[in-house]
Subunit: 142 residues, 2 copies
Amino acid sequence: MDTAKILREHGLRVTPQRIAIYEALAGTKEHPSVEALYDRLRPRHPGLSLNTIYKTLQAFASAGLVRKLATHEDMHRYDANPEPHTHMVCIECGRVDDLDSKADERLAGIKDLISNDTDYDLVDHALYFYGYCPSCREKRNK
Amino acid sequence: MDTAKILREHGLRVTPQRIAIYEALAGTKEHPSVEALYDRLRPRHPGLSLNTIYKTLQAFASAGLVRKLATHEDMHRYDANPEPHTHMVCIECGRVDDLDSKADERLAGIKDLISNDTDYDLVDHALYFYGYCPSCREKRNK
DNA sequence: TATCAAGAGATAATAATTATCTATTTTCTA
DNA sequence: TAGAAAATAGATAATTATTATCTCTTGATA
Ligand SMILES: [Mn+2]
Ligand SMILES: [Mn+2]
Ligand SMILES: [Zn+2]
Ligand SMILES: [Zn+2]
């Protein structure tokens, strides 16, 4: 709710730009890229620069406030949910969805499961599924 | 063994460059980047260009002969094993290992498990773990 | 062996991301 | 609450992984 408080709790300084960027990201389920956020913010924040969005999201990610996604596209996407969770990527239209949370819970222990089987000291993981989203699946079955 | 045969079976034309690139990739467990392959190949193949490696690996990946990895670094890596399998990425030194195959087998059914819980039509997946590799773990514990 | 599409290499172009620099804004404290 | 110190915003330029173009050469096929 209180964006300023959230930022401060993560050791981040509060500026109007940061508030706007965080709220735009937190307000969508689309896992937007920097450009996508820029286009969304520009109408209400004409002065905001692309560079600021890059730097801000980088700061947010370092602080553990957001997560950066690598989906095999030519740019990165961002997610207001920093917890490891599973993403579905449509290889036709590029859409990115969270896996249904019920289903994702079943994968929650995945890190602990693997921890015992590797010499690595694990701190994070990322799981991506690739395929056709419902609407692209429809189109293909014709 | 017979690289030319492998290439042809994947519908790829055979050239000395392609053979060299494929064998260099198949001969390492390091999941090299394009640059890394270039440096490795240059001594024996002075004429080979970076561009050719890019185009060749792209062709290999499209043909399903190799896999392109997105590890959150500023470049991509390639893997001579095109099957979905799990990777461990060291966030200190950048090393990338396969998860022990015994452990990975336990995750083999992960796609089928999720298939029932999503509207997506799944064709692939990628699982990355991030942490400290054995040697970096050592150094940290001092 | 001739044909012809595809590949190789040189070169230039793209485009996402980062660096630099200065004015402005936060934060902190006296 | 004013002022100092440090961090941020935005303008701009630079970087760099990757791709596009173009011409010459080569591999596949009959
Ligand atoms: Mn998400
Ligand atoms: Mn691998
Ligand atoms: Zn789609
Ligand atoms: Zn390491």
